[in-house]
Amino acid sequence: MARYLLRRLLIAIPSLLGISAVLFTVLALAPGDPFGELASNPNIPPAVRAALRTQFGLDDPVPLRYLRWLAAMLHGDWGFSFVSRVDVDTLILQRLPTTLFVIGSSQILALLVALPVGVIAATRPYSAFDQVANTLAFIGFSLPTFFTGLLFILLFSITLDWLPFVYRADISATGWQWYWEHVRQALMPVAVLGLFQGASWTRFVRSAVLDVIRLDYVTTARAKGLTERAVVIRHVVRNALIPVVTLVALSMPAVFGGAIVTEQIFRVPGIGSLLISSILANDTPVIMAVTFVFACLVILFNLIADILYGWLDPRIAYR
């Protein structure tokens, strides 16, 4: 096990290097200029822009810039944003709590919806409940989040005027009021993301449970006279969940990465909106850092999923 872990971690190093090199090259070759906005201002002479580019090392050859970035990264220096001139790690840490709160709750909501609905639907296949759940799930993951987001805003903010649609990370209220305000403003983004995710997971849980529920050992369990409840929870769900756990683990990096579209619609100051505004501003150090951390998390959670898999199903051995 330890050897397996070590080997996987060692393999991760070249893949991370490869990922960072590709990311950096793509970003360096992409058109655009962090100081492009200065170009449209006639009062700023082009020389100013050129001087800024030189000062921030943008005119050096790409390989040199990459090596410089890599060396700094190894020292734990993430660089600073060209646009805000703030250290990148500060920027990311500022956005992290909101992202974790909003995306985390949406994943929890998705699980809360997907697990019971999927299991119940699978235990009564082709019943009315199953049909309704299936149809809703289908609608749920067919509708893109930007569409449901706008729909929610139109309905709950504009027509009914119940919920605010501009998310504010720092609310001045205190005590219960503070919690209440946070819940109120997070309701729509969490629902949009959670229901979308939940819909596809529902389908997944249902088919996983269906696969298991017809197996002989379940019939045996029933024949032993166990209650239906015990059969489903102890025998069916536990086994059916193995692929589901993997799927959920693999979607965990998304909690960090945020949800670009939804964050933009509701103005949630999360990592997703940081990423998109940096992309629009061609702020390479920030894009680089966010995407790189994301890549690391994907690799990490892949590893965790593999380990979890073996733990849930002892037949899988590590070699």
Partner: protein, 598 residues
């Protein structure tokens, strides 16, 4: 223009026989160039009567206005105005910092940290145009209680002009010398007579920084200054909190240097999202009081206004959406560059073709069906401030006349209906950036051109490429590797000098200057150059305005560019909010005077 008549009017005002207001009205009626008032009068020694840009009917006293909620669909990323990459950063800084003077909507100066606006009468302006002396307002305090003095002003100049600091305002400060004559007086010296003296320390580039906080962070260490993210200014609101790209918060400055100001207890600027939903939040749900830069189709704005909570406030500015006709040949490569100034365009070199294209741009339809209130059809490149607008130019849309013109000039229709002359076919490649109104405008023009026998190929380039300065990319606007292109040039100052450098021959973009020259159409005209040089040194504002009008008429008369619409600024404002906006300064330039009806 009748210069003698003007002079006599000015003399009347001077002698008190005529009020300033009447003078302005007479000027408008004259049609020359209207509310030049302050500058013209100031130059002739009539000091402006305390130009307090106050708004009437405001509630008395300081504070009590509750929270002011502003929505910017681009979040501010830093709060040092001298590092501002876009206006969003300048705006957020402007809540806390102030310049010596700001620009009102007519392009006149209003004092902020200055005690008065320098003019010839009060001795602030030197008669030779080589220096200007600013008297500072006494008794002004920084938010931390330290006094504001001439040292801060001098320091701001040193800071911004130092190349190692890497400010974006260096261009406004590097060519002047600033010295302190006493604790409340500074003198700005120019190397040559400078008619437009109100650049350094004025408006969006002029915000004064506190010396005691920025002194240790000059030059290479500038990035480390804590005050870059936590400003200490002199403005009406004190800094409370800032999250880059997300939110800026401020609270009332109880020791603000203007009595009874400001009105609001707190101010909050939220960033992010998109323009349409920002308009919604102000005009439909009323969640916010003010939203910046409504790049939204007028149709949507009109529909949202029916919500009754807010309105679109339109402020004139000089930004001009125009079509450039290439005067060089973009299809032949000479010395490793296309569109080299050594070449001539195959058919745009014929004035008749240029004139025909001008007749084929249906500006009225573009305004009526595409831009609405957010774009005003115009025949002029230089539209605002009004004192610089040429009254002699008109535009017309006439396909028949265009066809006749081409016919006369020898461009005959071929078998395919496309006109040609001496083997040159009128086939135009017309490019612009990807942006819905621009593609619609392109389509309108293409249709008219086809009727007149000009083949037109439309091209749309992603904005991030089109406006970039990436020398390796052939699709950038600055290279202009096609026949026609449409884009907006921004006019950020009420003085057109910088704006009009666009057509000087030494600014022609090309390989030599890495396509950084501002003259992208590469139009060169000796008369224009002469007029420009004369305007640069002309100290009499009336003559200077006439020179700029002449330049506009030269470039538009020759159809080197075809102005389409000028774009006023559009902001969404709550119906209860009174916001004093200007097209020549930041939106928040006069935030201290904003108030809300109870």
């Amino acid at each position: 223009m009748n210069e003698r008549r003007l002079r006599s009017l000015i003399a009347n005002v001077k002698a008190g026989r005529m009020s300033r207001r009447a003078f302005v009205h007479r000027m408008m009626a004259l049609g020359l160039a209207a509310p030049l008032a302050s500058q013209m009068l100031a130059h002739n020694g009539v000091a402006a009567a305390a130009a307090a840009a106050g708004l009437d009917g405001r509630p008395a006293g300081r504070g009590g206005g509750g929270a002011l909620k502003l929505l910017w669909w681009q979040g501010p990323t830093l709060l040092n105005p001298h590092f501002a990459v876009g206006t969003k950063d300048q705006e957020a800084s402007r809540i806390f910092y102030e310049p010596l003077a700001g620009w009102d909507s007519d392009g006149n100066l209003v004092p902020f940290l200055a005690a008065e606006i320098p003019d010839l009468e009060n001795g602030g302006l030197a008669r030779d145009g080589r220096s200007v002396t600013w008297k500072l307002k006494p008794g002004v305090q920084w938010h931390d209680g330290r006094p504001f003095t001439a040292d801060d002003v001098v320091f701001t100049w040193e800071y911004a002009a130092d190349p190692a600091t890497a400010t974006v305002t260096i261009g406004d400060y590097k060519d002047v010398k600033v010295d302190k004559t006493d604790p409340l007086t500074v003198r700005v010296r120019f190397s040559k007579p400078t008619p437009f003296w109100a650049d350094a320390f004025v408006g969006s580039v002029g915000m004064i920084l506190p010396r005691h906080l920025f002194e240790p962070f000059r030059g290479a260490k500038s990035r480390e200054a804590p005050a870059n993210l936590a400003p200490v200014g002199t403005g009406p609101y004190r800094f409370v909190a800032f999250n880059p790209g997300d939110i800026v918060k401020g609270e009332l400055n109880a020791s603000y240097h203007v009595a009874d100001r400001p009105h609001f207890d707190t101010v909050e600027l939220k960033g992010g999202g998109d323009a349409v939903s920002a308009a919604r939040a102000v005009m439909q749900t009323g969640e916010y009081d003010y939203a910046w830069n409504m790049q939204v189709e007028d149709e949507i704005l009109l529909r949202l206004e029916k919500g009754g909570k807010g309105r679109a406030q339109i402020t004139p500015s000089g930004n001009i959406e125009h079509i450039q006709l290439n005067s060089t040949d973009p299809w032949t490569e000479i010395d490793g560059e296309r569109a080299s100034i050594k070449t001539k365009h195959p058919f745009f070199s014929d004035p008749a073709v240029r004139q025909a294209i001008g007749l084929l741009v249906d500006r009225t339809s573009v305004q009526d069906y595409i831009y609405g209130r957010t774009g005003v059809a115009t025949a002029n490149y230089l539209n605002n401030p009004e004192r610089f607008r040429s009254k002699s130019r008109t535009f017309e849309f006439n396909v028949g006349k265009a066809s006749a013109l081409l016919e006369q000039a020898g461009w005959k229709r071929g078998p395919d209906g496309i006109r040609a002359k001496d083997g040159v076919r009128l086939k135009v490649v017309f490019q612009t950036s990807i942006n819905a109104p621009r593609q619609k405008t392109q389509a309108i023009i293409k249709q008219a051109c086809q009727k007149a026998g000009i083949e037109m190929e439309l091209k749309a380039v992603t904005a991030s490429v089109f406006f970039s300065s990436d020398v390796a990319n052939p699709d950038i606007a600055a290279k202009f590797y096609c026949d026609m292109q449409m884009l907006t040039y921004n006019m950020t100052q009420p003085d057109p000098e910088v704006f009009m450098t666009t057509f000087t021959s030494w600014e022609a973009a090309g390989k030599e200057n890495k396509w950084q020259g501002r003259n992208i159409p590469r139009w060169r005209n000796e008369e224009y150059d002469k007029a420009f040089l004369a305007a640069q040194g002309e100290l009499d504002p009336v003559k200077r305005a006439a020179l700029f009008i002449r330049m506009n008429d030269l470039v538009c008369g020759d159809n080197a560019v075809i102005p389409v619409v000028y774009r006023p600024r559009v902001q969404a404002v709550s119906n209860r909010l009174h916001a004093d906006l200007s097209g020549w300064d930041n939106d928040l330039w006069n935030l201290r005077n904003w108030y809300r009806d109870p």
